[in-house]
């Protein structure tokens, strides 16, 4: 099982910059010194683009870290789903960060975060309509054109669905990838959370995504919020270990997509690097198992 990568928009350089099909971890400020001093056995790191747009010590740390570790840049502020279009100033800042750190991967979200000129500090849900599909495709194309590289678009976790949606989210995302040539960042935890919240079949989501487009997988923890004794909602808070059901769904994703660079995300109550590396090791074991199973299937 091979994955054809859309070559036209990929950065030409390989080696240090590119992200291998193994597990990496999200790098927070609190780990900067430890990474430089102790050189932990992480395979690669992902950071949030918006944290590296100013001056101060953070960009300097990342300059040093990226000499030894491949880096992926993950954005939250571009607002790919905004009907009012992309903020040119923010896109310019993203480009500066991408050019400075030469990441192996660049990703954003299938959502919107800006409306009426206000940044809404969260990833907000889109109606799954033809109009929204057109807006997202237009914005994604603009980003890829400006950055001169392929963008990965991540499936969101959502707490709201709209009555006037006409396209299932998994089909919507597949269409965005088909029309723009962008890649997909498959967040397996988000699929699980949204499936629980909306009554979807998680496997149906995986089945609809084109394997060739999958450029990265995210894994994270989530919490169960009890609205009252009878009702719960799952919240994608990235504040704990990956849940067993999500590990199982991840194994299913690997069987379907083949080995994919996989990120362990943990943004609240961030633990020690050692704990993050434990989670990464678990993902690496599943990737290896998927490779072995695939080899056995071919040999049989």
């Amino acid at each position: 099982m091979t994955r054809q990568l859309t070559s036209a928009l990929l950065p030409a350089r390989g080696g240090r910059g590119s992200i291998p099909a193994k597990a990496g971890v999200g790098l927070r400020f609190r780990h900067h010194r430890e990474v430089l001093e102790a050189r932990p056995a992480a395979t690669w790191f992902e950071v949030h683009v918006e944290n590296y747009m100013g001056g101060g010590s953070a960009p300097g740390f990342l300059d040093a870290i990226r000499r030894d570790y491949p880096i992926s840049l993950h954005g939250t502020g571009l607002s790919l789903g905004s009907a009012e279009g992309l903020d040119a100033a923010h896109l310019a800042r993203v480009r500066e960060v991408v050019e400075r750190f030469e990441p192996g991967l660049v990703s954003e979200h299938l959502s919107f975060s800006v409306a009426g000129g206000t940044y809404l500090a969260d990833l907000l849900p889109l109606p799954m309509t033809e109009e929204a599909l057109g807006v997202v495709c237009r914005n994604v194309a603009q980003v890829q054109d400006r950055l001169k590289r392929r963008l990965l678009v991540e499936n969101p976790s959502t707490y709201v669905q709209f009555r006037h949606s006409t396209i299932p989210e998994w089909e919507f995302l597949a269409l965005v990838a088909k029309r723009t040539g962008c890649g997909i960042l498959c967040d397996v935890n988000n699929i699980y959370v949204s499936a629980c919240n909306h009554g979807w079949r998680a496997s149906a989501y995986l089945e609809a995504l084109p394997p060739a487009a999958i450029g990265e997988i995210h894994l994270a923890g989530h919490s169960v919020r009890h609205i009252d004794a009878a009702r719960t909602i799952r919240i994608d808070d990235h504040g704990s270990r990956v849940a067993p059901e999500v590990w199982a769904l991840y194994a299913e994703a690997l069987a379907r997509f083949g080995p994919v660079p996989t990120l362990i995300e943990w943004d609240t109550d961030v633990p020690t690097m050692a704990v993050l590396l434990e989670e990464a090791a678990h993902a690496d074991a599943l990737i290896q198992k998927a490779r072995d199973d695939s080899a056995r299937a071919i040999a049989a």
Binding site: E50, G56, E84, G116, T118, A121, E131
Partner: protein, 262 residues
């Protein structure tokens, strides 16, 4: 009756109202509810919006947070966020007008020094995140003809901030962040004004007291006023020495001879 489908633009503006001013009227009818209603679903996003921005303000204003306590700070932040939500996804830049807000915030009126402390904290925050730049090479200045020197307009280092406070905001700020209760209680908040120069050095952010004349002179220079005019503002025999100090300390990163074109 089913509400007619909104355009994407209408829906996104309605979601903005839902999050910023807690008004669901434009969006509730379009949300699939069921066992969990529209308001409860929108609450998830509302809580994240308020939580993320309150945290951003707390990180930018740690001394104000300590002075008023968590509960008061969250209440003030909630009102500020509603009237002044962010315009940029770079949250390090969020909250510039919080000091002005606190000036007009009646529940904080008894802490007359609070807005001054906030203004200082904003300058410190700005200094922390400002881009870096190489100091001006003074040989370029020395090479100028005498006649040109009078019209030199300086560009300050991006981290430089000048704060004029009616109260000893720097002493309060330091004592609060050092958690030095005895120092804090020894401060007379009405002892008089402070003129402060804030900048980022390789060792960290520096907050320095200077006298009023020096502050006015430095402010004029940093605002790009021509050198001769800045000397007029200061009218003090020490200004040449002060300029030399500033140049040696790398306070400026560039200069020009003409008005910057807009």
């Amino acid at each position: 009756m089913i509400a007619p489908a909104p355009s994407l633009l209408e829906l996104q503006r309605a979601l903005r109202a839902s999050l910023v001013v807690h008004d669901d009227t434009g969006v509730a009818a379009h949300v699939v509810d069921g066992a969990i209603g529209a308001a409860e679903r929108l609450d998830v996003y509302r809580n994240t919006f308020a939580g993320v921005l309150t945290t951003a303000l707390r990180l930018s204003y740690p001394a104000v947070h300590r002075l008023v306590g968590a509960k008061f700070f969250e209440g003030a932040a909630r009102i500020f966020i509603e009237t002044s939500p962010p315009e940029s996804a770079c949250l390090d830049d969020y909250g510039e007008t919080f000091a002005d807000f606190l000036s007009g915030f009646e529940p904080a009126a008894s802490l007359a020094y609070l807005p001054d402390v906030a203004r200082l904290e904003w300058a410190v925050n700005h200094a922390l995140h400002a881009l870096d730049a190489e100091p001006l090479d003074v040989r370029r200045l020395a090479a100028l003809a005498d006649a040109d020197r009078a019209s030199v307009r300086f560009t300050p280092h991006p981290s430089v901030g000048l704060v004029r406070a009616r109260h000893p905001a720097d002493l309060i700020w330091r004592a609060v962040l050092d958690e030095d209760d005895s120092a804090l209680s020894a401060i007379d908040p009405n002892v008089g004004p402070a003129w402060l120069l804030v900048r980022r050095l390789p060792t960290g952010v520096e907050v320095r007291r200077i006298n009023e004349r020096a502050w006015l002179f430095t402010s004029a220079l940093c605002a790009g006023m021509p050198l001769a005019a800045a000397f007029d503002v200061a009218r003090d025999f020490e200004t040449s020495a002060l300029l030399a100090d500033h140049l040696a300390a790398g306070l400026f990163v560039d200069f020009r001879l003409k008005e910057a074109s807009t």
